[in-house]
């Protein structure tokens, strides 16, 4: 035990040293870090980025987490950011997803490093990019804490199992490796067996295949409060990506006492609702609606509490998915949206287009295609790359998929080999600690993010080019004599996407297309309204307005909406 402690300690020191080196690199050379960072390191990195690019970047805090950490917003824009149509990139809402946070910051760095390129210059000229890289910094801090475990909850002190005792049953690092993995206990009442495809991974025994359970599978720790549940009440409170308002899962572990109970949730929602110029949101997190766009379901749209995307919005999302897939993202595993998450709340409640992707996933390692060689290939393969024909008929196991890739890439540190320990709750039984290392599955070594970050920068730049743009066209005036004039024009959406999501027209906080006439002294409107509001304009759609105006001189017309920009035109009546 003492030896293990020393080892852990040494690891910590070397990690600390690595962190310091990383910090220095960032500071002096603007180089990217070699590992995922903690809040302090990220804060320094963002500050440096903003101060080195003060003409285009601004860093501000939109609130503090329960643990009093700033939730940073980096605004990239040339000119007045809030006056231009915008995209919001949000990451680190699910605290265990460090890759999203890293990618979001990297995207900002890459964009600022490439302002001389036409596409990037145009992006920052015409649009605003908001980046909130870490919405849940309290949870993400567990990456650099010991023991390390993939944490989703913020720093609220919360009695998760509501037994009246606070944080009485946390994880315990039983094998002293600084990581929280799993415990398997040989027990006749266990329901798990090693996967026939990948014996390091345990799966539920399938009685239809004649399998009989062999192991209990538990998280790494002791049942401190002897309630039969392991590690159900450790430090930490609310899983922020379960705390948003749409389809909020009440009475679910980690969802909090009520929707938007947490300062992190409110900070992000306040920012979104108070920024009507945000056209679309891109969330990096463990859900994917970009690789495959959602399907239209009339029944879900017709209900009072709607749970389906409208037909128009599904069309637009299909268009964006096509763009996304054209950048070479392949074989994304299915990652459905989850209850109470930000991505769905941004659409159904805040009325914005909302896209979500993990950004990175373990590429599929193909089994040999030639079935005649299968037996030979299997026989010669190491255990770690073994593949069987059954895998094509059973649903994909994401852990097995991950390990296959990790083995191919010869990654160490992503799997803790099963090793026997003494477990006080199972004194007479064989208990082993092991399993996939915390964070590993969703967060690859940082070098693997390079390529996908480049692709996501391209995606954002291309999406920005498809965004709506309102213009005033066919402006004409006719003089009807005696100082009476008719002014006619068309308000056109010149972009390739609608001016805002169709659902936005149901939502009070989404600004409609406004066409407003400003008169000079002595002029008056005899027909037509000073302010005209209408619903979203589809790509290429236009609406004609005309006014009868008495008087002479300059008339100004303004048309548009915050998500598609405001166009201004002038005519002089003679």
């Amino acid at each position: 035990m003492a030896q293990q402690l020393i080892l852990t300690h040494m690891k910590e020191q070397s990690l600390l040293a690595a962190g310091l080196v990383g910090l220095l690199w960032t500071f002096f050379l603007q180089a990217q870090p070699s590992s995922y960072q903690n809040h302090e390191q990220r804060t320094a990195r963002l500050r440096n980025l903003a101060s080195a690019n003060s003409a285009l970047a601004r860093l501000q805090s939109i609130g503090k987490s329960r643990g009093q950490r700033d939730i940073w917003l980096l605004t990239l824009s040339k000119g007045e950011a809030s006056k231009k149509p915008a995209l919001l990139i949000a990451a680190g809402i699910e605290g265990a997803h460090l890759a999203g946070t890293e990618m979001a910051i990297r995207m900002a760095e890459k964009i600022l490093a490439n302002v001389s390129k036409d596409s990037i210059a145009k992006l920052l000229e015409t649009k605003t990019l908001y980046v909130v890289p870490s919405v849940n910094p309290d949870a993400q801090e567990q990456w650099s804490a010991r023991p390390r475990y993939a944490r989703s909850e913020n720093a609220l002190d919360y009695d998760n199992d509501r037994d009246g005792r606070l944080n009485e049953d946390p994880f315990e690092d039983l094998n002293g490796d600084g990581l929280i993995t799993m415990v398997r206990v040989e027990d006749p009442s266990g329901t798990f067996v090693p996967s026939s495809e990948e014996p390091r991974i345990l799966v539920k025994a399938d009685p239809t295949k004649g399998e009989v359970g062999k192991y209990l599978l538990l998280t790494e720790g002791i049942d401190n409060d002897k309630d039969g549940n392991f590690n159900e009440d450790g430090a930490g409170g609310v899983h922020i990506d379960k705390n948003f308002t749409f389809d909020y899962p009440i009475f679910t572990d980690g969802s909090g006492d009520y929707a938007a109970s947490e300062p992190e949730t409110r900070a992000l929602l306040d920012f979104l609702y108070n920024s009507p110029n945000i056209f679309a949101v891109l969330t990096f997190g463990p859900a994917n609606n970009l690789s495959e766009a959602p399907k239209f379901d009339q029944a879900k749209v017709n209900r009072r509490v709607i749970t389906g995307f409208t037909q128009k919005d599904v069309s637009a999302m299909e268009q964006v998915s096509k763009l996304y897939n054209s950048l070479g993202f392949k074989e994304a595993p299915s990652m459905p949206q989850t209850k109470g998450n930000f991505a769905q709340t941004a659409y159904f409640h805040a009325g914005r287009f909302s896209f979500t992707t993990p950004g990175w996933w373990a590429p599929k390692v193909e089994a040999p295609k030639d079935t005649t060689k299968k037996a030979e290939a299997t026989a010669s393969a190491t255990t770690s790359t073994r593949s069987t024909a059954t895998s094509t008929t059973t649903p994909e196991n994401d852990e097995i998929r991950f390990l296959k890739w990790a083995d191919k890439e010869q990654l160490t540190d992503v799997f803790v080999q099963w090793k026997e320990i003494r477990h006080p709750d199972f004194p007479d039984k064989k208990a082993e600690v092991g399993g996939i290392a915390p964070y590993a599955k969703l967060n690859p070594p940082i070098k693997y993010l390079e390529e996908t970050t480049d692709k996501h920068v391209k995606f954002i730049a291309s999406l920005a080019m498809q965004m709506p743009q309102v213009e005033i066209v066919n402006l004409s005036t006719e003089s009807l004599g005696n100082g009476l004039h008719r002014v006619t024009l068309k308000v056109l959406n010149k972009g390739l996407l609608p001016t805002y999501a169709d659902i936005g027209d149901r939502i009070r906080w989404v600004k409609k297309i406004k066409t407003e006439l400003f008169l000079a002294n002595g002029q008056s409107i005899l027909a037509g309204k000073k302010i005209n509001l209408r619903n979203a304009l589809a790509a290429g759609e236009s609406e004609e307005y005309s006014w009868l105006i008495s008087g002479s001189g300059k008339v100004t017309i303004q048309a548009g909406c915050p998500t598609a920009g405001m166009a201004t035109a002038e005519v002089t009546l003679r």
Binding site: G164, D225, F251, Y258, A259, S261, D270, I507, E516, I531
Partner: protein, 597 residues
């Protein structure tokens, strides 16, 4: 009544009583009208509506006059920076105040609904002034603590009282919002064209109009019959098109609903009109939520509204029916049905079924997120005009005019008078004053307040009251002793609602054997048949999921079944023996009681 005559009246009555007070306490004489103190320490007039300054003054006077009964807690500031205060009323000399079963009262979340604030203050005053005089009140304050928030929307209350309003405006808070989506904020509010402090109606004499005056009550507008010619067209509430967009009064302050801002089944504005960004967008509701989460002893609540004469329970939405479980409904039924007798004309109703659907309302949040037994009274009903049920709707009812004529002498309506309107030309302005219809007239205010308070005190009476009825010990072989304790709850509300138990909202109740070396502990499920359930972890403190109330255990019995016993029994096996054993029951919503054998 002007302020001056009011204060003269109060002063002269004080003088009268003071002359006798030197000899004998008027409350011990025939001067005491039953149920009401004849010579309260804090004199107050209950027949006018208090403004913010009055609420603060009365609160401070109560806290000063009754330091052992009333304390003021500041729970945060409103949107416009007013202090939000809670009066915490209990017998501070008995028990630990915040560990007694708590009762929450809020008033005026809809600030145009003035009575709630009034009745909340009346309750604080009444409890303090009758402590030591009425046994029921004395016991209530010994056993319970009342947390009384008189004004949940203080900004809008001030706006309603002092700015021109209709009977329905100022339901919103005062956060400035762009209601009509034109990019301009609060640019087209009502306009008090005749400057009388009320927003009444506009009418215009017109050969094309389909309205006429009621022949019985001139001034009351009624639709012309199908075979009649009309005389007037109605032009809506008093106002002008300030922003020239072709609409009148479409963008005033706020326009959202603080009672759609709570954390249970919250839905956005397009599903639930009046909702803001998320539950708790408003600082006022957030202050209350924080207070209630910090006072987990709150087990019952009353949120006063008007009007219609209703005792409302949840759910607000049909799809939440399954969360109101039969044994919880039995408690609501007990109190609600008694209430129907206590306030003639009031009905015990379910919000979604009998009123309308409400998502994100306070009642559901209290009941379903916190496990609190929550009622909301809709104060005032047209029944009370002439003590009979009218066939007409609650907003269009001739009886209001008749009542005004014979009992208010015309004080409820503004007489029509001509006005030259910039957009409509020659019109007339008149109609309901803002306090007509919804807000109880002065002479009835104390009575309606008292009856509503009495209903709420019945509700508070039924909060859990725990009692350790028996501690018995029995020697066992091997130098061991078996100690068994029996705990009952003598009121209708259990320490955990059935819904709370189902979803584990509040922690279990703890029953601890204090002065013994405990080896083993267990819940006794059936003492006679010796059925027990052992608790292996920390047996000194037995965790019982619930201590049920008096409505439990009435099933079975009489028809060959068993039942009829609602006691909770726990047992310990201890080393050695002692002369006296002390047992403590510690329940979050049921309070703390201790007994020594």
């Amino acid at each position: 009544m002007t302020n001056k005559t009011l204060s003269t009246a109060v002063l002269s009555s004080i003088w009268c009583i003071a002359a006798f007070a030197q000899q004998i306490d008027p409350d011990l004489t025939g001067m005491r009208a039953l149920g009401t103190p004849a010579n309260p320490k804090v004199k107050w007039s209950w027949n006018y509506y208090m403004d913010y300054a009055s609420i603060m003054r009365l609160s401070q006077e109560l806290a000063k006059a009754h330091p052992n009964l009333v304390k003021i807690e500041n729970i945060g500031k409103s949107t416009q920076g007013r202090d939000m205060i809670v009066l915490a009323v209990t017998d501070y000399q008995t028990g630990i105040p915040d560990r007694k079963p708590g009762f929450w009262i809020d008033g005026g979340i809809h600030a145009n609904e003035l009575q709630g604030t009034q009745f909340a203050m009346y309750t604080a005053w009444y409890l303090a002034e009758n402590f030591g005089k009425i046994e029921f009140i004395t016991e209530l304050l010994r056993d319970r603590i009342f947390y009384i928030l008189p004004s949940l929307s203080p900004d809008s209350r001030e706006a309603f009282l002092f700015k021109p309003n209709t009977p329905n405006s100022s339901r919103t808070g005062q956060v400035p919002l762009d209601d009509d989506g034109d990019g301009y904020i609060d640019e087209d509010d009502y306009d008090d064209l005749d400057g009388d402090g009320n927003i009444t109606m506009m009418r215009r004499r017109s050969p094309n109009g389909r309205w006429k005056e009621d022949p019985n009550y001139p001034g009351r507008m009624i639709p012309a019959k199908a075979d009649e010619k009309g005389e007037y067209e109605m032009l809506g509430f008093e106002g002008i098109d300030n922003d020239g967009d072709g609409r009148v009064n479409e963008d005033g302050p706020g326009t959202y609903d603080p009672n759609r801002d709570w954390g249970w089944n919250w839905q956005p504005d397009y599903i639930q009109n009046g909702a803001f960004y998320y539950p708790g967008t408003l600082v006022e509701t957030r202050n209350v939520k924080n207070f209630i989460y910090n006072h987990r002893n709150i087990a019952g609540s009353q949120s006063y509204h008007n009007f219609g004469g209703m005792f409302l329970r949840g759910p607000g939405a049909e799809e939440d029916q399954s969360f109101y479980l039969p044994s919880d409904i039995a408690v609501y039924d007990l109190i609600g049905k008694q209430g129907e007798k206590m306030i003639p004309g009031y009905n015990y109703y379910v919000i979604w079924k009998d009123l309308y659907t409400v998502y994100g309302g306070a009642v559901d949040w209290l009941a379903l997120a916190r496990g609190v037994f929550a009622f909301s009274n809709e104060i005032n009903t047209s029944y009370r005009l002439f003590n009979r049920r009218s066939n007409e709707s609650r907003f269009q009812n001739e009886e209001f005019n008749e009542f005004d004529k014979y009992l208010l002498f015309g004080d409820a309506y503004v007489k029509w008078k001509p006005y030259k309107h910039p957009q409509y030309g020659e019109i007339e302005i008149g109609g309901n004053k803002k306090n007509n219809i919804r807000n109880t007239p002065g002479f009835m205010l104390e009575e309606e307040g008292h009856r509503n308070m009495a209903f709420t005190l019945l509700h508070a009476y039924h909060l859990p009251k725990l009692e350790i009825t028996e501690i018995k010990s029995k020697r066992l072989p091997g130098g061991l002793t078996e100690v068994t304790a029996t705990v009952i709850n003598t009121r209708a509300i259990p320490t955990h609602s059935a819904h709370d138990l189902k979803y584990k909202i509040e922690r279990p109740d703890y029953i601890t054997l204090k002065n013994a070396q405990v080896i083993s502990g267990m819940i006794v499920e059936d003492e006679d048949l010796n059925i027990t359930r052992e608790q292996k972890y920390n047996p000194q403190t037995i965790e019982v999921p619930n201590i049920p109330g008096t409505l439990t255990g009435t099933a079975g019995g009489g028809f060959g079944g068993s039942g009829g016993n609602y006691a909770v029994k726990v047992r310990w096996i201890v080393r050695g023996t002692a002369e006296k054993y002390t047992v403590e029951v510690d329940s979050m919503k049921g309070g703390v009681v201790t007994k020594t054998q």
